[in-house]
């Protein structure tokens, strides 16, 4: 069982990074880590703070064969992956987001966001983008993405997305012309997530954003493996 006390949880994150978290507590911790932003923040804090210690040791040269083996394994793994999923990736064949229903609800929601957004007046120099993420099943809107160039992206839930146990929501984006989606990390199903626009591969109109259902620790292969729960593309809004 994970403690509830934030100090205890932070201490566990530190011990997780240095490696003294008892094996018996590891599974629970990793399960919690996959869905708890605060824990993730602690883990990233410690791994960065302790990083200089890795420079205390005298460097050692691994055998040249190590890279050859890594390369072989990576290639093999990729071949296995493409054999088991022969279909074209979802982002190449997707058409539902072009539907009229989508466009109409997008406009309505964008207007709603603009009217309701409390005091978030866009600065004149920054382009703003919105996307409504809809369920591919019934076109219902579940999330809104709003982002200002050079600022923050906000992923706003319109309700609570139900996530099965041992699963997590992973947020992805794919600019037009990119070869595949980029992960923006796991996100909580019921809260606003903020991301620095600087950490996105790009921010432009018609950029795809989506949420997929993934294992609790995220997709193991760096691209979506689970069903798309919500997806949408950005529109640019004039400042003001």
């Amino acid at each position: 069982m994970m403690p509830v006390d934030p100090g205890e949880r932070a201490a566990m994150a530190a011990e997780y990074v240095i490696g003294t978290l008892p094996v018996a507590e590891l599974a629970d911790f990793e399960h919690a880590l996959a869905r708890d932003f605060e824990l993730q923040r602690e883990v990233y804090y410690w791994q960065d703070k302790l990083l200089p210690m890795t420079r205390m040791l005298k460097p050692e040269e691994p055998a040249a064969a190590v890279w050859t083996r890594i390369e072989r394994s990576v290639t093999q793994q990729r071949q296995n992956a493409s054999r088991s999923s022969p279909q074209a990736p979802w982002w190449q064949g997707l058409t539902f987001w072009r539907s009229g229903a989508f466009a109409a609800s997008l406009l309505a929601l964008v207007l709603a966001v603009q009217l309701l957004g409390p005091g978030r007046t866009p600065t004149t120099e920054s382009a703003r983008y919105y996307a409504v993420l809809q369920s591919p099943d019934n076109n219902s809107a579940g999330w809104i993405v709003e982002a200002a160039a050079g600022g923050k992206l906000r992923l706003i839930p319109l309700g609570t997305t139900t996530v099965a146990p041992q699963k997590a929501l992973q947020f992805w984006t794919k600019p037009q012309g990119a070869s595949g989606p980029t992960s923006l990390g796991l996100v909580p199903p019921d809260r606003v997530t903020e991301i620095l626009v600087a950490s996105l591969p790009a921010l432009e109109r018609e950029q795809l954003f989506e949420l997929t259902l993934e294992p609790a620790t995220g997709s193991p292969i760096g691209r979506p493996t689970g069903p798309i729960l919500f997806v949408g593309r950005t529109v640019a809004m004039a400042a003001n």
């Binding site: 791994q47 205390m56 390369e71």
Partner: protein, 184 residues
């Protein structure tokens, strides 16, 4: 294989994100820049060259497959990479009969030598960490270093320092809390 290109600074964050998109070259770039330091870290943990190389291989496969879970807004890609690699090594240490023979570990010189830490020019972060480690109480510092650098479990630290398990647990925990206070 050390070429000049490999000495140029690498944008690890971008490289890791490119790994998530299936770019082999990005993985290779990370390997070329970091392999000697990663090898040193793993070798220190498991003490056997062959096992260390096996772990390096497995860890890089893991970096490749898990790159998509790295979150650039929370921290550096190198920090993330070292956690993957260290955990892989610790996993091997804890699970199998891989526990190496230990001699008495001496850290004083390790820390004192921070002036010539094997970086060309110790960064502000390196200096800060070294100073904060020096400021820790002796036993707390020993415990944290035995755990982090040598991968000792609570039990192994207790055996090494001849202290009760509960005491060692609190040395480590308090040591980390004090370290965080000092670093912030």
């Amino acid at each position: 294989m050390t070429t000049d290109a490999n000495e140029l600074p690498l944008d690890f964050e971008a490289a890791l994100l490119r790994c998530a998109q299936g770019d082999h070259f990005a993985l290779r770039a990370i390997y070329e820049r970091e392999r000697r330091w990663l090898m040193a870290t793993v070798l220190r943990l498991v003490r056997r060259r062959e096992l260390a190389e096996e772990i390096l291989h497995d860890a890089f496969l893991q970096i490749w497959t898990k790159a998509g879970t790295y979150n650039p807004r929370l921290g550096s890609a190198r920090g993330w990479i070292y956690t993957v690699v260290r955990h892989r090594a610790l996993n091997a240490l804890r699970s199998a009969k891989n526990s190496p023979e230990r001699e008495d570990e001496r850290y004083d010189e390790l820390i004192a030598a921070h002036a010539d830490w094997h970086a060309e020019d110790p960064s502000a972060e390196q200096r800060a960490l070294a100073q904060c480690l020096e400021r820790l109480e002796e036993q707390r510092r020993q415990s944290v270093l035995l755990a982090f650098v040598d991968g000792y479990s609570h039990e192994q630290v207790a055996a090494q320092l001849g202290a009760p398990l509960g005491t060692v647990k609190s040395w480590i925990r308090r040591g980390l809390i004090a370290l965080k206070e000092c670093l912030s």
